[in-house]
């Protein structure tokens, strides 16, 4: 079992938490644990309750849809230093796609239910998290819109 100091340190060092107050780091630490996924393991699947979200420490995670009969289509990926998962922060808190480790992946896993509870009572914490997630979502949407243009395709 991780030493709670170690966990706090890991969170402090993760790019996603840069600029967060010590108090907020402590709150996050209380909802966190270290996780490890082997190559091919699913972190979450489409339709599952979004009750955990991840900050990737090492490795790579593909975001995929299964579209039979074309099969599995990868539309995005997350690497070390990035956050994975927004559905935990928007109702109905259900994962929208699959997330699968493409290689040995280590991540910080946060209990979203716990954190959502904390965000209800601590608006500063909620703000700190929204301020980090909203730009991610914005940039993600922009990427998706450009991908939609299918610029490399023929007519």
């Amino acid at each position: 079992m991780s030493n709670i100091h170690d966990l706090a340190q890991i969170i402090r060092e993760h790019p996603f938490s840069q600029g967060m107050s010590d108090e907020h780091i402590q709150l996050l630490t209380g909802c966190a644990k270290n996780t490890h996924f082997s190559d091919g393991a699913y972190l979450f699947r489409e339709g599952d309750d979004a009750d955990t979200f991840y900050w990737i420490r090492a490795g790579k995670v593909a975001m995929e849809f299964h579209a039979p009969p074309r099969g599995t289509l990868q539309i995005d990926c997350r690497k070390a230093g990035e956050a994975l998962g927004w559905s935990w922060i928007v109702e109905p808190y259900r994962w929208f796609c699959d997330a699968r480790a493409l290689e040995d992946t280590r991540a910080l896993a946060f209990d979203a239910t716990c954190l959502r509870g904390k965000m209800e009572s601590d608006l500063q914490l909620a703000c700190a998290l929204y301020r980090r997630f909203v730009p991610l979502m914005y940039r993600g949407l922009q990427r998706t819109q450009l991908q939609l243009l299918d610029v490399y395709g023929g007519n």
Binding site: E46, H66, R94, L149
Partner: protein
Amino acid sequence: MAQLPGAALPAKGPMVPHPVAVRHLQRETHDTYTLTLDPPDPDQGLPFTPGQFTMLYLFGIGEVPISISGDPASPMQLVHTIRAVGNVTRPMQDMQRGSVLGVRGPFGTGWPVREARGKDVVLVAGGIGLAPLRPLICHLLKRREDYGHISIFYGARSPADILYRKELESWGGRFDIDVSVIVDHAASDWYGDVGVVTTLLCKLRCDAGNTIVMTCGPEIMMRFVTRELNHLNIADEQIYVSMERNMQCAVGMCGHCQYGPGFVCKDGPVYRLDRIKPFLGIREI
């Protein structure tokens, strides 16, 4: 002799196609066309339930399962809308009046027309998925008084890919049904909605407890549509989907169309969602 279960042997097996003549071929979009065929039986026509399909045979080339897309009140005309995607459906688009195809069928389960009586009806179609719903729409409009509020939601890739555009426009012009069309992307001369069909569902007006939804399109589209419907308090028991699998015999004997414990050719293609929900979520089942 050891006893054999089963009925008396039929004269011709279920695998033998009936030759039928093409009456008309209509181009719909760049890769889709509608064939109108004479029925195999010139007296009875080919009676069918909306949602059923036939196996169409192109001499010497092969056979494909195609949903019937004609008006069930006109069984003397056998109508199919077909996308040219393979080595049977591509040469088939060169058929002319008088060309002969083989037909077997109809096969499969149909849309729950009786179940839906007295209820609000919502149809959600994506791409070629509008074709198997067209017979249902014909029926609903002919028996309008039997149904509550009717809405049609249709998503296509682009304006050029909209199927049955004139009919959609005429249905949309009626005062007694709501028609919404959306495309994934469009050029600047499109003034309609752009986006995915699930976003149209927020416009849905229906009595959630007394609604039947019927949806047809790519499997992933149906997955997300049903998710959205559940969010609108429409239960799985109220939703019907049309599934597609490899079909060869169409009578549950070749094994290809197996989906979970059933055969899409006879337990489907129309399924009530709660009966197959577990399988929709399993990859490569």
